[in-house]
């Protein structure tokens, strides 16, 4: 396995007053890896993720994302990553094609690149018929697939996915994971949060955060062995049941 490190954190910490939302979080993520970032509501996942994508300044500790420092090089970080969340995905009152063009432009692709790559993207998604329809008219699953394609449109080194499959039907959910696998296969590192424990099994490695601390980090297989559990759901319940704080 290629062990090139693309995310490295060292005691990354975020305090809000006396409250330590993320407490000395230390881990590494490798190139092309699908890394599952799990935790109970309120465990500190969002706080940690915001620091990683360069929109929240750590209280102390270090992190390097795609070769850039989270204190000094946040603009470079933003150019080298993709991000999608369940809530904000796309501009609903723009068409599919317009959304692709807009984000292509934002990420600094040339008109020529946008022209050729947007056609490619739309064909690949099988959305030729929908290309000039408003995004608001698409079913949720399609929006999420489009949103993911756009998040990796500028070929980022890392893509951050915040609960990308919530509420999506079971078939589309699996198609979405096909896309994740493919992106990882093409060398894009995937950093993903989810509440579906079957999806945790699809990750190369998984971390489980409890009360601001990373309680476990390993491959799903090893985590199950270590905790003598049949599924990741059991592992999660064992580790997170003891959580002291709510969201």
């Amino acid at each position: 396995m290629n062990k090139e490190i693309v995310i490295k954190t060292d005691k990354l910490t975020k305090k809000f007053g006396d409250f330590i939302a993320a407490n000395e979080v230390t881990f590494e993520v490798y190139k092309g890896e699908i890394f599952g970032f799990l935790g109970a509501n309120g465990a500190g996942k969002t706080t940690a993720m915001k620091m990683l994508i360069g929109i929240s300044k750590p209280s102390y500790g270090n992190a390097n994302i795609a070769g850039f420092d989270v204190y000094k090089q946040t603009e470079q970080i933003k150019k080298n990553i993709g991000y999608m969340s369940q809530k904000f995905s796309l501009y609903e009152d723009l068409t599919v094609r317009e959304n692709v063009q807009l984000f292509g432009g934002i990420y600094g692709l040339s008109d020529k690149e946008i022209e050729s790559k947007s056609g490619e993207l739309i064909n690949k998604l099988g959305m030729q018929q929908e290309a000039d329809k408003l995004v608001s008219s698409l079913p949720l699953g399609w929006k999420q697939k489009l949103s993911f394609s756009i998040a990796i449109f500028h070929s980022p080194k890392i893509v951050f996915l915040d609960e990308p499959t919530g509420g999506v039907d079971p078939v589309t959910r699996r198609q979405f994971w096909d896309m994740i696998y493919e992106a990882a296969h093409n060398g894009i590192t995937v950093f993903v949060t989810t509440h579906y424990m079957d999806e945790a099994e699809y990750c190369d490695r998984v971390s489980i955060m409890v009360d601001g601390v990373i309680k476990a980090l390993d491959s799903p297989k090893k985590l199950k062995e270590q905790h003598n559990a049949k599924s990741m759901d059991e592992v999660f319940l064992m580790l997170a049941r003891g959580a002291k704080r709510g969201e």
């Binding site: 935790g39 109970a40 509501n41 309120g42 465990a43 369940q86 690949k124 998604l125 099988g126 008219s137 079913p139 949720l140 699953g141 399609w142 697939k145 609960e163 919530g166 509420g167 999506v168 039907d169 079971p170 078939v171 589309t172 699996r174 198609q175 994971w177 096909d178 896309m179 696998y181 493919e182 296969h185 509440h195 579906y196 424990m197 079957d198 099994e201 699809y202 799903p220 297989k221 599924s231 990741m232 759901d233 999660f236 319940l237 997170a240 049941r241 959580a243 709510g246 969201e247």
Partner: protein, 329 residues
């Protein structure tokens, strides 16, 4: 008497351009004391059904009643005897935890003390924060407060619209334990969820997709009616395995299911050891292949196929990227 009864309920929403049928001839009934689950993804029509039954939305056509009261003519009676927790947090953000609860108790002509035993389990966890404004609570706490407010007048029927969406597995488990306790106190519960694994917690379920009910039964009967042999396949390299299985000529369907792939075959009499040999020849190691009982999610996906709706089964998986190509990378 049925706790809930719907007959041919239709609800459409129109924009300038198009009309969307959110609920399409939906009929089902819920017995008293039952936990009945509406299971389906976003856009299935679950929330519209909830809003029609809680008298907040008028159906285009069809009939519905709650404990014998008609949702149109007897809406006031219905509102007195039901508790409703919408999918979106809708308590007063500027009132404190205690004020919200007191407000709901008061409008239903009761007091917190009178029905405290019903909410004690949940509210105990909230009491340390009772002077905090609801808007300042965490997601999990908001959910507990909303449930307390929906229960404080001791409703006969509880309507919970996606109470576990976006909630972590620990809190989801706690909520279902809570619902079982409420059921044991005689409360009928209609609950919706997009998480298929929660279906087995219900006495009966209706599987819904795009406004239509695909099947209504007990979770066990839904599983029993799957009607095909289902195999779980596992090997060292799961993604190449998925592609190889999908490209195998005998494969009818193959989907990832956690640490296994679930497979059905076109021909039930096919000798499965042939497939095993094929996969070993393709280079898969530590291969296991065994027959298993389906889960609700398998059944749902099979039903989706039987009721194809636009685009759902369009696949995005690249063709021809078999094991060899992936292995060399």
């Amino acid at each position: 008497m049925k706790a809930i009864e719907l007959k041919n309920i239709v609800k459409t929403y129109s924009t300038k351009k198009e009309t969307i049928t959110a609920v399409d001839e939906v009929s089902f009934s819920v017995d008293e004391g039952e936990i009945f689950g509406l299971i389906g993804p976003d856009g299935a029509g679950k929330t519209s059904v909830f809003r029609i039954l809680t008298t907040l939305l008028l159906a285009d056509s069809g009939k519905a009643n709650v404990l014998g009261f008609d949702v149109v003519n007897n809406f006031k009676e219905i509102r007195d005897i039901i508790g409703y927790m919408p999918g979106r947090f809708s308590l007063y953000q500027d009132l404190t935890v205690e004020e919200n609860l007191e407000f709901f108790a008061t409008i239903f002509n009761t007091t917190i003390e009178e029905n405290y035993n019903l909410i004690a389990d949940i509210y105990k966890q909230l009491e340390p924060f009772k002077t905090r404004r609801a808007g300042k609570l965490s997601g999990g706490m908001k959910q507990k407060l909303a449930l307390s407010c929906a229960l404080i007048h001791k409703p006969k029927i509880l309507f919970l619209d996606e109470p576990t969406t976006g909630v972590d597995p620990v809190s989801r488990k706690e909520l279902w334990e809570m619902l079982k306790r409420l059921k044991s106190q005689g409360i009928t519960i209609l609950v919706s969820t997009p998480y298929m694994d929660e279906a087995k917690q219900c006495d009966r379920i209706a599987l819904m997709q795009k406004g239509k009910i695909l099947q209504i039964d007990t979770p066990q009967n839904v599983v029993n009616e799957f009607g095909k042999n289902l195999y779980a396949v596992h090997s060292e390299n799961m993604f190449p395995l998925l592609i190889d299985l999908r490209e195998y000529p005998q494969t009818e369907s193959c989907f990832a299911f956690g640490d296994k792939h679930h497979l059905t075959l076109k021909d039930e009499t096919f000798d499965i050891s042939e497939l095993e040999k094929h996969l070993i020849a393709r280079g898969h190691s530590n291969l296991t292949l065994k027959k298993i009982e389906p889960e609700i999610e398998d059944c749902f996906m099979q039903l989706m196929k039987a009721h194809p709706s636009e685009g759902v089964l369009r696949t995005t998986l690249p063709k021809g990227k078999g094991f060899k190509k992936l292995k060399t990378s």
